[in-house]
């Protein structure tokens, strides 16, 4: 039954360029062009950054130029289509997984409603199956017999500038979180499809600044921030001073020390930006408490790897500094801090790309004697594994009441949860240091919802988009905030600590964000400490 006034109401508000058309689309998805406008795309990479990257050994970032997604003309190289298609051909031959992912999808739709971008926008092209179809349609057209003969009937389409623009729009509306892959009966890793789309776009000079500038900084100084060694050192020193002021514990940390047993690598955001700083203070305190023989590195001063969001060559190069520094310093193994995508690179790719690290030893905790056979190949363990093992063996003295100002919940960061299966260790730690509760079952562990801003999408010009895509996560936090009185969202990812802070500021302003190691630092009881009543833990302003 139609309500005439209601129809008029719909008509009066659906004018103007908007994705929300107020009606079920009547056109095939292939026929709906993308519209770029301020707020729905991340800014293109600066020309000089692309040129710099392209000038570096082992890296390939051609066709640097000034361009804007809002312009009709993206100033693509003349032979752009040839570049894209030969790039695709090369990758189909090189990556067997890509060929399989292109061929084996039966469009069952199991992934369709699992993507946080789809759930927040309602845009069908954010259904993982359709996002992959953006590439698959071109693959069919040029690389399959059915597509060559039957064209559109077989779901094939020609590569055009419009398709390229669509790739740019939707490969940067995917955080490669891999939640969809959990539900795919064939195990198609849609994140890898996004990775391929981005790789192909880089071949014709299409990329975003928030990714390429940190990548170029990392190539130059070792970290995203572009911090030089003395600055990195000073920042860690500041944090050590803060820890001493708060607790009376003098931190005896070192940098670039040859012969240390352990090399510690964490995202540079931990030593630089709030609230990661407090997580780094937690690391410093805990290592001091157990007297770990470890060193920081001002060269391997970044755990994060924005190469993962560009192309495999960049990922490999940026990752290489970890083993190179471990070798130079002569350490036995590496401990990695709380980071998300860093662990995807370490767990899934590092050994193949830059291993085998036969100059390192299988990690053994010097305090408990535990052998971390799970890292027998990579020789690198996660701080949560290390900490949980210490707690399990009663090697840390913890006073939970020091976190009595906190009622926490735990956000499984996508990559540690889904790419390396790290789900129980952080929970075991939380059990011992803080009062905490779980979020609803279909939003945690391997089903966790992304913060909405991963894979280099944590830039402020797309804040609206980030709020939309972070809605499923924020919605679950809101539930435990209202029902259980949660006031802290803990996680083990540096990008999460930054992006969830903004997400909470919009959706749930009374919930703060912290790293698990910060809560450990708060609860640690150390001989010789002169810690007063720190009402806000390591965040207390003295």
């Amino acid at each position: 039954m139609a309500v005439p006034k209601l129809e008029q109401l719909s008509k009066s508000v659906v004018q103007g360029p908007s994705l929300a058309t107020g009606a079920i689309p009547t056109r095939d998805w292939m026929d709906i062009p993308v519209v770029f406008k301020e707020g729905n795309y991340a800014y293109p990479a600066k020309k000089d950054k692309v040129e710099y990257l392209n000038s570096q050994k082992g890296l390939h970032f051609p066709n640097a130029r000034v361009w804007s997604p809002e312009d009709d003309d993206w100033k693509l190289p003349e032979n752009w289509k040839e570049i894209i298609l030969s790039g695709l051909k090369e990758r189909l031959e090189k990556f067997r997984s890509l060929k399989i992912f292109m061929d084996c999808c039966v469009r069952c739709g199991a992934c369709a409603d699992k993507c946080h971008f789809f759930l927040g926008t309602g845009d069908p092209k954010n259904m993982p199956v359709l996002r992959a179809e953006l590439l698959r349609s071109v693959y069919r057209n040029d690389f399959t017999l059915a597509g060559k003969i039957m064209g559109k009937m077989a779901g094939a389409r020609e590569m055009t500038v419009g398709v390229l623009k669509e790739w740019f729009m939707y490969s940067y509306q995917c955080t490669e979180c891999r939640r969809c892959s959990v539900f795919c009966p064939y195990g198609i890793d849609t994140a890898e499809v996004t990775m391929m789309l981005r790789e192909l776009l880089h071949l014709v000079g299409i990329g975003i600044n928030w990714i390429l500038e940190p990548a170029s900084n990392s190539n130059r100084t070792g970290n995203h921030m572009g911090l030089q060694p003395h600055t990195f050192k000073d920042n860690v020193d500041f944090l050590a001073d803060d820890v001493e002021n708060l607790t009376g514990i003098k931190i005896n940390h070192t940098f670039n020390r040859k012969g240390a047993e352990v090399l510690f690598i964490t995202p540079s955001a931990d030593v630089f930006a709030e609230p990661g700083l407090y997580t780094a203070m937690g690391y410093l305190l805990m290592f001091e408490a157990i007297g770990l023989d470890y060193t920081w590195s001002t060269y391997a001063s970044e755990g994060g790897n924005f190469g993962l969001f560009t192309n495999n060559e960049t990922m490999k190069k940026l990752n290489a500094k970890m083993y190179a520094e471990a070798k130079r310093l002569g350490v036995k193994y590496i401990i990695g801090g709380e980071c998300g995508h860093m662990w995807r690179v370490l767990h899934q790719y590092m050994d193949t790309m830059n291993g085998p690290a036969d100059f390192l030893e299988v990690p053994v905790s010097p305090i408990t004697g535990t052998v971390f056979n799970n890292a027998a190949s990579t020789k690198m363990i996660h701080i949560s594994e290390f900490t949980a093992d210490l707690i399990k063996h009663g090697k840390l003295k913890l006073d939970k009441s020091r976190n009595s100002h906190v009622k926490a919940t735990y956000h499984d960061s996508c990559n540690p949860a889904r790419a390396m299966g790290l789900m129980d260790e952080p929970r075991f730690i939380l059990d011992h240091v803080v009062d905490w509760v779980e979020m609803p079952e279909n939003t945690i562990r391997e089903q966790t919802f992304c913060c909405g801003s991963g894979t280099g999408l944590n830039t402020d010009e797309i804040m609206e988009l980030r709020m939309r895509s972070g809605l499923p996560r924020a919605n679950a936090v809101k539930y435990v905030q209202e029902k259980k009185g949660v006031n802290m969202l803990s996680c083990v990812c540096a990008i999460d600590r930054a992006t969830l802070t903004s997400l909470m500021n919009y959706w749930n302003p009374d919930v703060r964000v912290c790293g698990v190691s910060e809560l450990v630092g708060n609860a640690l009881v150390i001989d010789g400490e002169t810690r007063g009543d720190l009402e806000d833990g390591l965040r207390t302003m003295l």
């Binding site: 928030w210 500041f238 939309r468 802070t501």
Partner: protein, 181 residues
């Protein structure tokens, strides 16, 4: 003959269902948003349904307009960051007027009551006005979040030139090191 209060109570489910349906039809993939009832698997659909279910009895009972805020926030906070214009974001609140009138008119027992809808429709008008305010508050909050993030120092990730100059800015006081940006 039943009175309006009873009529609205009797038709509540039907009206709210159509209201939810209309509101979700403003999304391209409305069928999923309508179908999936798990609020965590479907936050847009779940919150929209919950908010409108909470709001309708308040409108029907001529409750104090201050009470509209909570359910309106639940729905407007979402619509404020989606790709809607301001009017598109708010319009569905308005829709309940027409739906209610139509539903009452279609029932023999209640068709005579459509002339008594003045107070109800006035309450809807107040809710629409409140929704505009909330929409604006959400937009302002969004920009505040953006400013706060820029000030937090994360912008240096892409805008830094000289790390030594950065160090100078950091200042000597440890606790000032990030706030100063």
């Amino acid at each position: 003959m039943i009175d309006l209060v009873e009529a609205l109570r009797n038709h509540r489910e039907k009206i709210v269902n159509r209201w939810v349906e209309y509101t979700l039809s403003t999304y391209k993939s409305s069928s999923f948003f309508l179908k999936e009832r798990d609020a965590f698997a479907n936050p847009v659909g779940g919150n929209t349904r919950q908010a409108l279910e909470r709001l309708f009895p308040l409108l029907a009972e001529n409750a104090d307009s201050g009470e509209f805020t909570a359910p309106l926030e639940q729905i407007m906070r979402i619509r404020s960051v989606q790709e809607f214009t301001a009017s598109q974001a708010v319009a569905p609140i308005h829709a309940v007027k027409h739906i209610t009138r139509e539903v009452l008119a279609a029932d023999k027992q209640t068709c005579g009551l459509t002339n008594d809808l003045y107070d109800f429709e006035f309450a809807v008008d107040l809710a629409v006005l409140a929704a505009f305010d909330i929409y604006m508050q959400c937009r302002e909050r969004l920009y505040q979040v953006r400013i706060k993030e820029i000030k937090s120092g994360a912008h240096i990730l892409t805008d830094s030139r000289c790390p030594t100059a950065l160090l100078k800015d950091i200042g000597k006081e440890g606790s000032e090191k990030v706030e100063s940006h």
